[in-house]
Symmetry: C2
Subunit: 383 residues, 2 copies
């Protein structure tokens, strides 16, 4: 009794084999390899998105996110998408049409913030620096005092450049001029010292697939009290339905009001990734990332390669390595992938053709991986 029966067309009914992905070591800007315990957790049988068992899990995920971010923010949740969705949630909910937003643009993700803020009607002020440089507190003060923005947006860890933006004093500045501090922590959360409350960050977002070693598809977001106040006092509604925190927060809050179906198994994975963070402890985890990175930097120097970012603002999670004169950077990356199953990435934008990007994040931040990469890189460069 099929209604409107047509003949089924088998044109696209392709035959495929069981999935068997190559054993890549993912040392690019992300995703990094997921921890085996995370993959295992993701394959747990499903429960409904309003099941008491899932609600208990939601509370655990939120608590563990607060630990990872060092915040008491009630509105601390995983967004049901990848890091870019959390970035857009941060912007869509904090920027109203006509709001001025000063954005630090010293890499690809600062650019992306400008694109998003413009779509939400923000009056975007671009504060520009060469890719790899960071902003001084004086530069930020000058911009904020001149433009009096509603939001100052900075990228704590620029995945495109490997630079760490110091945040000392920025919160005081934002309070002095009554603006919100919005920070991209995609490549810092779980790998680099980060204290959301102590540093006075009002809004932060991240990804799961970097230093948390969970696959992409779920993305942490936190809104502090000042940001929630602004959200609750918007003159206009949030133009984005899926990411509207006035509704999403009712599902993740005590009301548990249905908004959209949470990605159940991604939440299983994120819970396990955050358990691993809590078991290891943030201090030990940060030190591990630092140690692996220093081992990498020393090893790169030994084979005559130099880092693009000065030591004092260099991220341990993501290193940009200058491609030597006369070397075809893309060919080297391709050979690493095809001959050694190692993924590193090419530069973007201003750094296109000039650097490789090497990530040592989460589960992957281990000495054996550094040795493997250095050995392979040396062979390819000298090969």
């Amino acid at each position: 009794m099929l209604t409107m029966a047509q003949t089924v067309n088998d044109l696209h009914r392709i035959t495929t084999s069981q999935l068997d992905t190559p054993p890549r070591l993912l040392l690019g800007p992300g995703p990094s390899n997921a921890h085996p315990r995370v993959l295992q957790a993701m394959s747990n049988r499903q429960v409904g998105h309003l099941d008491p068992a899932f609600i208990a899990l939601m509370n655990e995920v939120q608590e563990l996110l607060r630990y990872a971010w060092q915040t008491d923010n009630k509105l601390t949740i995983p967004v049901s998408g990848t890091g870019s969705a959390a970035m857009e949630a941060a912007v869509a909910n904090s920027v109203e049409p006509g709001d001025t937003i000063v954005i630090g643009v010293n890499g690809y993700f600062g650019e992306r913030l400008c694109d998003m803020a413009g779509r939400y009607g923000g009056n975007v002020v671009r504060l520009e620096k060469a890719w790899g440089d960071v902003f001084t507190i004086d530069e930020l003060r000058s911009a904020v005092s001149q433009h009096r923005p509603a939001v100052l947006a900075l990228v704590h860890a620029e995945t495109s450049t490997g630079a760490r933006q110091p945040l000392e004093g920025v919160s005081d500045l934002c309070r002095e001029f009554d603006c919100l501090l919005l920070v991209d922590t995609v490549t810092s959360l779980g790998g680099v010292p980060l204290f959301v409350d102590a540093w006075g960050i009002d809004i932060a977002y991240s990804g799961s697939q970097k230093a948390l070693s969970c696959p992409p598809g779920i993305a942490p977001l936190t809104f502090g009290p000042r940001a929630v106040d602004k959200l609750n006092n918007r003159a206009s509604g949030v133009p984005n339905w899926y990411l509207d925190l006035t509704m999403v927060s009712k599902y993740w809050g005590s009301e548990r009001t249905y908004h959209h179906t949470a990605p159940i198994n991604m939440n299983y994975g994120l819970r396990e990734a955050l358990r691993l963070v809590a078991e290891e402890g943030l201090e030990a985890r940060w030190a591990r990332h630092r140690n692996s990175a220093e081992m990498l930097w020393d090893g790169l120097a030994d084979i005559g390669l130099t880092c693009h970012v000065p030591l004092e603002t260099r991220l341990p999670t993501l290193t940009t390595v200058r491609i030597p004169e006369g070397v075809d950077g893309k060919a080297v990356a391709r050979t690493l992938l095809t001959d050694y199953n190692i993924e590193i990435a090419a530069g973007l934008g201003q750094l296109g053709g000039k650097v490789w990007r090497v990530g040592l994040m989460g589960f992957n931040s281990r000495p054996e991986n550094v040795i493997t990469l250095l050995g392979a890189l040396e062979r390819v460069l000298n090969g």
Copy 2:
């Protein structure tokens, strides 16, 4: 050498045990239980989102989606979010400020379409019917000829009511009045006869966690040539960054331009779910859903329960069952969950307190599950 060192606060560093979810049989409106092969596929080791191995997988996912939807549409992709994200992608990319959109509202998801379309500046015309009813072609003709919309949006399978909207003749109507036909197929794709091309559907979206039996977190979307034309000729940009198909399509098209990091493991899962569809074949799969549903409907009648939706428009994937006079519907659902690990759902909106919603979708659409539910329901009602 930790910069800006604070003392790490262990307040939120909770201790949790290894995840061990209860063995639920998910017979609500979704998520349904994922097929074991899908969960296994999701735990495959990761590759990068621009890895040749992943690009091959993307092509396979797209081809298999075309088979499941019976379409040749080039722009057929999985959105990196849950079904609601795909719904918003459908609306955000097809509705421009000032566009009239006629929306069939005969359930919860028609309401949601109205909410979304309003956010994107659409001039929303609500075509209303009681929840559980469907629209006749004459009613649709009357609305379209009166309002001359840019888009007509209908819900093929209303998850909140269990009604199947017949689509006979709707495409001809939309072509006569030069409007796009946008169809919600969240609860029909993979479970109910559906021919996107033969039926002239211009835009369709779905979820992964219903009749495809993949966990939520990735959501199919297809745009046909007329919809792509409208997209390419927009007067204004797409206001949503994450779901902007002018950019997303360049990642899923031959350019492979980076937009956002795809949810790698969710794509593994979707691929396996779609392989299962291709292996079984659509005709066999639709017949299986029909057979399980008829078994359920007969069994419900045997224990004196009636269905809310008339047989001719009743969905095989989702059945709304009237709660008998004097029975506490919520208490029954709670007992099914706590005593028998079976999830069914309460009614929403106009059907709140009046019906249970029972899903038989994908992997779960099997006679043994029907027997289990009927047996448990009978015991709880008579207990």
